[in-house]
């Protein structure tokens, strides 16, 4: 089947979504990331793999955190980095997405890291760049956030290497979450046998079961005996659309508290893509507790993004 992420040789040309990514490529990214974890601990935190290349962060939607991790990842690979916050500049002047992209192509950028509020925006840009340019999706609407999905499975693999024997629960606003979709695809690709989603019906996409997950509306049942709890961020805007009555009730019913976490396996790990809403989806005692791997996720996120960039640069150079 046609896959817009791969070139004719089956190498990674763009990273747009985890869906459709062959397992061998996914493992390749994770293994490469492993080799970059140590770079940050060296005195000189740099490798010269992207020297002379220009990485352009195009953020049509604001995000300091994700943009920063991509920036650090590119700089550790010795690339030149250009940050563009389009939400505050050209788009408000009526420039189209393609105008913006074509301008950056004319400036000889080699790699685009793109975030956009519309699902499919990264695919759209990838269709309209010349073949020597790679596009990395840093989050498009509700569709995908593949580097987040990769860093999440990288973190899980670190703590729970037996992926074939895991029970994972994803909790919260799956409907609006590109992170959840990428996590689900990454986990299923790596052969995790049981993935649960726990949320009220209003926060689950239609036919979510068809993504290969089991649906729970009750934390006590859903968390029972799981190895990994992946929390999702709940946006405050969700209260406006009659999706939930209040953040308080959400915390009462779906918030991760120490008591609820006790239902999971005793060595279960707790993850969150950040930024966290303490007291809305997660209790501080859990977020800062000994089962939390939320900060290691951030650290690994840089290594994973370095790996993606290095593989894309290598694929394009070959």
């Amino acid at each position: 089947m046609y896959n817009p992420q791969l070139n004719a040789q089956g190498q990674l040309q763009h990273l747009l979504s985890i869906e459709g990514l062959p397992k061998r490529l996914l493992i390749d990214i994770l293994d490469t990331a492993e080799s970059f974890v140590g770079v940050a601990e060296r005195e000189v935190k740099k490798v010269p793999l992207l020297r002379g290349k220009t990485v352009c962060n195009i953020f049509f939607e604001n995000s300091t955190r994700t943009r920063t991790t991509f920036e650090i990842a590119a700089k550790r690979l010795s690339a030149d980095v250009l940050n563009l916050n389009v939400s505050t500049s050209s788009q408000s002047k009526g420039e189209t997405i393609l105008d913006t992209v074509n301008n950056l192509i004319a400036m000889h950028a080699d790699m685009f890291v793109v975030r956009h509020q519309q699902s499919g925006a990264a695919h759209f840009i990838a269709q309209h760049v010349p073949p020597h340019i790679s596009v990395i999706n840093a989050g498009d609407g509700r569709h995908a956030h593949p580097t987040q999905g990769l860093l999440d499975v990288f973190t899980i693999r670190k703590y729970k290497p037996e992926m074939h024997n895991l029970r994972v629960a994803i909790v919260g606003d799956v409907l609006h979450s590109r992170v959840a979709r990428s996590e689900i695809h990454a986990l299923t690709t790596l052969g995790v046998p049981e993935i649960r989603v726990i949320a009220p019906r209003t926060l689950l996409p239609t036919d979510v079961e068809k993504l290969g997950v089991q649906v729970y509306h009750d934390m006590a049942q859903g968390l029972k005996d799981v190895d990994v709890v992946m929390m999702l961020r709940l946006q405050n805007e969700r209260m406006a659309g009659a999706l939930l009555p209040s953040t308080q009730e959400f915390f009462q019913t779906f918030g991760l508290t120490p008591e609820r976490l006790a239902l999971a396996k005793p060595d279960a790990i707790v993850m969150h893509p950040g930024p966290m809403n303490r007291g809305v989806e997660i209790d501080s005692a859990v977020a800062d507790g000994k089962q939390s791997v939320i900060l290691p996720q951030v650290t690994y996120g840089i290594a994973v993004r370095m790996a993606v960039m290095a593989i894309l640069a290598g694929g394009n150079a070959a």
Partner: protein
């Protein structure tokens, strides 16, 4: 002026004719089939050996974009596209800018269309002013100006009191209401069918129930008020079932679907292909099969093109931001015949859905080769094989979800009122 079209296979659902014969045209009217009328001397002879001779198509929904969106298409470009597609009569919905809610606008459109002397243009007036669903338009004056029925295009009438009164008022004069059912709240911001594909792609969905809930209300209101309801552009299996039931109960209701919905499903969105962004959205395979069987058993009366030319820039955007619609006037006939072949349906029955039936729904004399009828005639070469390419469409809208689809057959000539206005 006498024209003889020789030895083509004449397929006319209005007379139940499907045989090879000569067609005689005199002074813009059909004079006879088979036997030459007394004293007939052909001024022009067209050899149609090996070709089909069809009545001009009648399309229940084609947007010409005039007035207001001339950058997307013009009357001239779209009426030429209609000729290339063999569509000689078309109804256009009122969602122009300004909206067709005033007699002057309708007169202007009719006048401009008439001066082109191509397809017959039958405007549908707005049911409510500005399509806002609040105040009724002057339906009588609009009808006097040339409207053949009333529509809300893609806009809803949210207030059921207004809906009720609009139906009552239209029923007083016997006007037909061409309504596309969609609950605007359930459909809010939606761009794709609410199902597996939209969930995977992270696109905001429009549930099938958005259509059936609105349809149920319309059917009930039409039953209570006695209004003539034509249900336009339905997309779901549930809608087919509701209309089937209404017909079984003896209600005088008619319905159509679009040629896009007859062939495509949500799966065709692929990797966010904005050409496949349509309104209503493409549904599941099950829905498509239900639409097809609905056409076969007579639940659905017609197939329309839902022709919606969109400029390139408006499609060169991420899926949800792109404008919905497909340019389809030139594809309606070959795609209908493709369906007929796939469904093993006699050609005459397939033709009925795009000629005789829609003409009856509009209440206009069209879609027939009966003697005395206006000579709107299409000559079709059923042999030629080709692949769809948006760039070669005559329509100013090059937007088609059927890119690269293999089709068999093409219009080689179109006559309107006895004038040969298009030749391949």
């Amino acid at each position: 002026m006498n024209i003889l079209i020789q030895q083509g296979r004449i397929i006319d659902a209005s007379q139940q004719i499907d045989r090879v014969a000569d067609l005689y045209v005199t002074d813009g009217k059909i004079a006879a089939i088979g036997q030459a009328p007394a004293g007939f001397q052909a001024d022009q002879t067209i050899d149609a050996t090996g070709k089909w001779i069809l009545p001009g198509l009648v399309d229940l929904c084609a947007r010409l974009r005039e007035p207001g969106s001339e950058y997307k298409a013009t009357l001239s470009s779209e009426l030429h596209a209609a000729m290339a597609g063999g569509v000689t009569s078309l109804a256009c919905p009122p969602d122009t800018d300004p909206v067709l809610d005033e007699p002057g606008l309708v007169e202007m459109l009719k006048h401009r269309a008439k001066s082109q002397a191509l397809a017959h243009v039958y405007p549908l007036g707005a049911v409510t002013r500005q399509l806002q669903g609040q105040l009724l338009t002057e339906m009588f004056a609009l009808t006097e100006a040339g409207c053949v029925g009333f529509s809300q295009a893609d806009a809803a009438i949210v207030d059921t009191q207004v809906l009720w009164r609009a139906f009552e008022y239209a029923a007083s004069f016997g006007y037909t209401l061409f309504m596309r059912p969609e609950d605007p709240y359930l459909a809010k911001n939606g761009v794709a069918h609410d199902g597996e594909v939209a969930s995977r792609l992270g696109l905001k969905g429009i549930p099938a129930a958005a259509e059936s809930i609105a349809l149920q209300t319309m059917i009930r209101v039409a039953q209570a008020t006695g209004a003539k309801l034509h249900v336009a552009r339905i997309s779901t299996a549930e809608s087919v079932a509701l209309i089937r039931l209404a017909k079984q109960q003896g209600m005088a209701i008619t319905a159509d679907t679009t040629i896009q919905h007859l062939h495509l499903t949500e799966m065709d969105i692929g990797f966010f292909d904005s050409q496949v962004h349509l309104k209503p959205p493409l549904r599941t395979q099950r829905d498509r099969e239900a639409l097809r069987s609905g056409l076969l058993d007579g639940t659905l009366d017609a197939i329309c093109s839902d022709h919606t030319p969109v400029d390139d820039d408006a499609k060169l955007l991420p899926f949800a931001e792109s404008h919905a619609g497909a340019s389809a006037l030139e594809l309606l006939l070959p795609l209908t015949l493709k369906w007929a072949v796939q469904a093993k349906l006699p050609l005459i029955e397939a033709m009925r859905k795009i000629t005789h039936n829609p003409a009856n729904i509009l209440g206009v004399a069209a879609g027939s080769l009966q003697s005395g009828a206006v000579a709107d005639v299409v000559i079709y070469n059923p042999e030629v094989e080709w692949r769809v390419d948006g760039r070669v469409l005559k329509s100013q809208g090059k937007n088609t979800p059927f890119v690269n689809h293999a089709l068999t057959g093409k219009v080689v000539a179109t006559l309107t009122q006895g004038n040969l206005v298009y030749q391949l």
